[in-house]
Amino acid sequence: MRAYMNTISNPWRVFDELMSGFPYDLVNNALRTRSGYYPRVNVWESGQGLVVEAEVAGVEPDKMDVAVDANVLTLKGERTQADGTAGEFQRSFNLPFELDGENIKAKAKNGVLTVTIPRKASAEKRKILIEKE
């Protein structure tokens, strides 16, 4: 009965259980390490662009990679896991506008990576005029 109640409160439970054995998290578009880790993020948006803050404790700044391809932002990194092996993680975000990959600013402080990316000039928010007939 309890198992059944759990399914009501979280209809994705069975799906989550099935997917937990699979290294690619489809819902969050992220590659998990063997320890099940991928960075948590806060995303801020404005007319100018995006600010993404990601928790990357224990990742050396030179082992991190931020890439932009049109409207997809990818955060990648490598860190040493508890058992001493290297774990790779990756997380991508599909955005509703294109980003300017040339002008990314990224800094790491206390295990938090802050990435500032402007919108592509052509992707600035604009109002579309409706023509009258």
Binding site: N42, W44, E55, A57, V112
Partner: protein
């Protein structure tokens, strides 16, 4: 405790979610290394106390606020990390050292002299 009478910063403190940080212990020949993940925590927001043989760690993270931007996805809450460890007799509590880099707090817990492995030479008889 009357929350209504508390000043603003105190109320915020009460509201913070309390979580246990991810931690691990590695044993080396002369010391234990206790690693605690504290992303977004500055040195000044970490409090490490030792009472009898209980080592307590309390830390608060700082979440960035960006003016003129709108928060569209929140996965990182403001939290208070709290962890306590009972240290074994083998640890020399006077020699504990702490360092904080890349969001990892590393505590070096040296072993007491008498429990360190040592080589015993055979005296020629």
């Amino acid at each position: 405790m009357n929350l209504l009478r508390k000043s603003e910063p105190d109320v915020q403190k009460v509201n913070r979610l309390e979580v246990t940080p991810v931690a691990r212990v590695d044993e080396k020949e002369s010391a234990f290394a206790l690693t605690v993940e504290l992303p977004g925590v500055s040195d000044k927001d970490i409090e490490i106390t030792l009472e009898n043989r209980t080592l307590s760690i309390t830390a608060e993270n700082t979440v960035g606020i960006f003016k003129d931007y709108e928060l569209v996805l929140t996965e990182i809450p403001e939290v208070r990390y709290r962890a306590a460890f009972d240290l074994p007799e083998r640890v020399d509590t006077a020699g504990i050292k702490a360092s904080n880099a890349n969001g990892l707090l590393i505590l070096t817990l040296p072993k007491r002299e008498e429990v360190k492995p040592r080589r015993i030479a055979i005296t020629a008889g």
